[in-house]
């Protein structure tokens, strides 16, 4: 009995230990072999009622075949139910004694087989005691199993709460993954795992689709039990979770297997919790992304507005260019390390380096913007202004940029194609087409972004930026902002250019006005001088002439002769002075000489032929071959013709025909006439009366002086300027220049011209 009680005590101890986490089967095995002094033992199991018995473990891993004498596997349960245990007859070969007794539970049916040496009366216990032991084992097994299951559940709950707590503390995807893998390893004892999160936010956070632990390739699956589940939250698939658990074999018994149904349910719970936490994190990330997006938009708007504020402050092109680049490089602006500005010369189709803003080193960059932002509370607009005011253009980068010319042509490099396609590009290694050698070579811009500056459908140039010093990647976002910035810069440039054009035409107008006033003033002065001269000259001639006569008449000894000589020479001095005064006044008058009008027309149409082609204008001429020379200032007549032809061209912006005609009117009065007719549709009748008024114009670019000056010149030649309007067809402007005599009386013209005295001074 003592032995029996010791045995039962052992069994109970074992059970208690088992609840501490040791697998009960192991201990039961130990008890069976040690306490019962059995030679061998084996455990069989059928995983479900009626299924064949399988060996699950035995002493020293020595397999004992299930004796044929035992009830068939399928009937084990029935057999053991009737009789708790029974003694088998000894086997003929080695003659062991076999005790078989069942251990049965809801989910497990096991059969313990005890073997004793044959022929020895080694049976330690009588059948009654064995029955008691079996009952104790049966009970202990159940208790142990319950305790074990409870322990597993407790540990599971503990693991679940730890996991939940650890995951809910994470704020970032990377921390989430870190905590998740740590929890799966620590609390669940997973040997390896793989988490695949397919939610787009996850990819947006820049995380890999898979994370695996341990790092590196997963261990071969042999010897591991895999568990895989989908991570789902509220019907939304977030990804999958795969775990591998070690098959801890003890004496050949795969322990986990027995608890697999439990564990699978537990793992489902765990994965549900993981999915929930993951969903929370994703929502949080989405919210953060939204906030960030909004902040970014606000920041962009702020940058654009500040830049706009700064740019609005000036209309000076150079200053604007500098401010644009300041905005592109300001830390609180676009924040690029370096920015270069190229302007497109439309005539030559060359991109011309205008300005480069960028330090020659990272330290310098830091220093510049630190010193500017050290003025506390300084707005970006003010910073940009300050930059434009204070930073001299002496950097090496600026000098390099200014030395660059890039041809814009089909098949050109990256910048050329950027201008041609009018789209922003991001250039780097392998970009097509390859950047121009100047950009990669001279400026060392290997990773760069370029955007065309376009305003009012016109490309002004482009901005190129890079991050040479901090090596920051240029993102799509950067490119988009740069494009918006360039559009704004384009408007500022367009405004400045327009203003410049306005200023220039205003200046031209002022100059023309000044010139007119000056001409008029001089003309008045000349007239006064001329009439004075006429009044004074005649008496002077008389005084001087008679003084000379007197000088000749008086004898050498006569003192009067000397006085007469003095009068004569003083008069001559006065006459010379008068001549000078007259020359000054006359200088503004046309210098007339015999001019062949047809020759002037040929010269001017030759001069304008390229312009005619460019403007798609055809010129027809009908020039009279018998035109006598007209008295005219060749230069001024040249000007008249240019004015008339320009006027005609401006009336036909889309091209057309110009008809030039010359003719001789025998008179009287004898005249040479010139008419210029365009096909520009004529002018409004109410406009017609004004076209010769100075400063009247219907053109946006003109100052209205062309025809007024023409009229002055023609009038100064004693000629007439006439206009004939053909509404809907065109306008004819006519110049009639008078001939001094009837053509038949002009025989002396050539001699007068040749004498060099008649016309030339």
């Amino acid at each position: 009995m003592t032995r029996l009680s010791t045995l039962i005590g052992n069994i109970l101890d074992t059970t208690r230990e088992a609840s501490g986490g040791v697998e009960i089967d192991t201990l039961l095995g130990d008890v069976l072999s040690e306490a019962l002094d059995a030679v061998g033992w084996a455990l069989y199991r059928s995983s479900s009622p009626g299924s064949p018995l399988e060996l699950i473990c035995s002493d020293r891993n020595r397999s004992i075949p299930y004796p044929a004498e035992l009830p068939p596997a399928g009937k084990t349960e029935a057999a053991v139910c009737g009789e708790p245990f029974f003694l088998l007859p000894p086997c003929p070969q080695d003659g062991p004694l076999h005790f078989v007794f069942p251990l049965s539970e809801d989910d497990l049916t096991a059969t313990y087989l005890l073997r004793y040496p044959a022929g020895t009366d080694a049976t330690p216990l009588d059948p009654g005691s064995l029955q008691t032991v079996a009952a104790a084992l049966f009970g202990a097994g159940r208790i142990g199993r319950m305790l074990h299951r409870k322990g597993v559940h407790c540990r599971g709950l503990e693991a679940l709460s730890t996991l939940s707590r650890r995951l809910s503390d994470t704020r970032s995807p990377s921390a989430f993954l870190e905590e998740l893998t740590a929890s799966l390893q620590d609390s669940l004892g997973a040997a390896a795992g793989r988490i695949r999160i397919t939610h787009p936010v996850w990819a947006g956070a820049g995380l890999p689709e898979f994370t695996a632990f341990p790092d590196g390739p997963l261990p071969p699956e042999h010897g591991l039990k895999a568990f895989e589940t989908a991570l789902r939250s509220e019907g939304e698939s977030l990804g999958t979770l795969s775990l591998w658990f070690p098959e801890r074999r003890l004496r050949g018994y795969p322990l986990h297997e027995r608890f697999l149904p439990d564990r699978a349910a537990f793992l489902e719970t765990i994965s549900g919790e993981i999915a929930l936490r993951l969903m929370h994190l994703i929502l949080q990330l989405q919210a953060e992304a939204l906030v960030e997006e909004r902040q970014k938009r606000l920041q962009e708007l702020w940058i654009l507005q500040e830049t706009n504020n700064a740019l609005r402050g000036t209309l000076k092109l150079n200053r604007i260019l500098k401010m644009i680049l300041a905005g592109a490089t300001a830390e609180t602006g676009l924040g690029f390390n370096r920015a270069a500005l190229f302007l497109l010369n439309e005539k030559t189709n060359l991109l011309q380096g205008m300005l480069g803003v960028g330090p020659d080193s990272a330290e310098e960059a830091d220093r510049i913007w630190k010193s500017l932002s050290s003025h506390s509370g300084l707005s970006l607009a003010r910073q940009i202004e300050l930059y434009a005011e204070t930073q001299p253009n002496v950097s090496r980068f600026d000098t390099l940029v200014k030395s660059i010319r890039i041809a814009v042509r089909p098949g050109g490099g990256a910048l050329s194609s950027c201008v041609r396609a009018r789209t922003a590009i991001r250039g780097g290694d392998g970009v097509l087409p390859a950047p121009e050698a100047e950009i990669t070579g001279k400026l060392s811009m290997n990773e760069f972004a370029a955007t065309p500056i376009v305003a009012r459908k016109q490309v002004f140039g482009l901005i190129v930026v890079d991050n040479l010093f901090d090596g920051k990647r240029i993102t799509d976002e950067d490119l988009r902002l740069l494009s918006m910035f360039a559009a704004q810069a384009g408007l500022a440039i367009a405004n400045a250019k327009e203003l410049r054009a306005h200023q220039r035409s205003a200046e031209e107008l002022q100059q023309a006005r000044d010139m007119l006033m000056q001409t008029e003033r001089l003309a008045v002065l000349g007239e006064i001088a001329a009439s004075l001269a006429h009044e004074i000259r005649n008496p002077l001639v008389t005084i001087g002439g008679f003084a000379r006569r007197l000088e000749k008449k008086l004898g050498p000894g006569d003192s009067g002769r000397k006085y007469a000589g003095i009068i004569a020479s003083e008069v001559q001095r006065l006459e010379e002075f008068l001549e000078e005064v007259l020359l000054f006044g006359r200088d503004r008058q046309p210098r007339l000489e015999p001019v062949q009008l047809n020759e002037v027309i040929h010269a001017v149409t030759r001069l304008l032929s390229a312009k005619f082609t460019e403007e798609s204008i055809a010129v027809d001429e009908d020039l009279s071959p018998s035109l006598p020379p007209v008295p005219a200032d060749a230069n001024q007549l040249h000007q008249v013709l240019i004015n008339l032809l320009s006027n005609a061209m401006e009336a036909m912006p889309g091209g057309g025909r110009i008809f030039i005609r010359t003719a001789l009117t025998e008179g009287p009065p004898a005249e040479v006439t010139l008419t210029v007719t365009d096909s520009g549709g004529g002018v409004e009748p109410e406009v017609l009366g004004n076209i010769f008024n100075p400063f009247f114009t219907t053109k946006s670019g003109g100052h209205g002086l062309g025809l007024a000056l023409t009229q002055r010149i023609v009038t100064a030649h004693s000629g007439r300027l006439s206009v004939k309007n053909h509404p809907g067809r065109g306008l004819t402007l006519g110049v009639a220049l008078p001939l001094p005599l009837e053509p038949g009386l002009l025989k002396n013209i050539e001699s007068v011209r040749k004498s060099g005295r008649g016309v030339q001074q």
Binding site: A530, R537, V541, G545, L582, R591, L592, L739, L741, V759
Partner: protein, 122 residues
Amino acid sequence: MKTILVIDDEENIRRLYRDELTESGYSVRTAGNAEEALALVKEERPDLVTLDIRLGNGPDGIDILRNIKEIDNTIPVIINTAYSEYKQNFGVWASEDYVVKSSDMNELKDRIAALLEGRQGS
């Protein structure tokens, strides 16, 4: 002896020219207005005319020049005026020469001599 017609509205000028040119060996006729001048041209057919352009209120010298040439295109006319600008009036191209008035009459006398010699030679 060659006859020179001096046309000028200023009497003192006419007197001076008459004295000077007579002394130089010419027969000198003078006229102070267009009517006198044209009458003398028609009647006497002078060998040469010196012609002022501004003649008081009457028709100006360029018209007179035109009239003279219409009467006789062979009579050489020297425009002799205080204005040098009339050189640019193409009306004077019908004249043979143009001399600006000066108290020093040597230039005028040289031109007269040259023109008369040329006429003689031709």
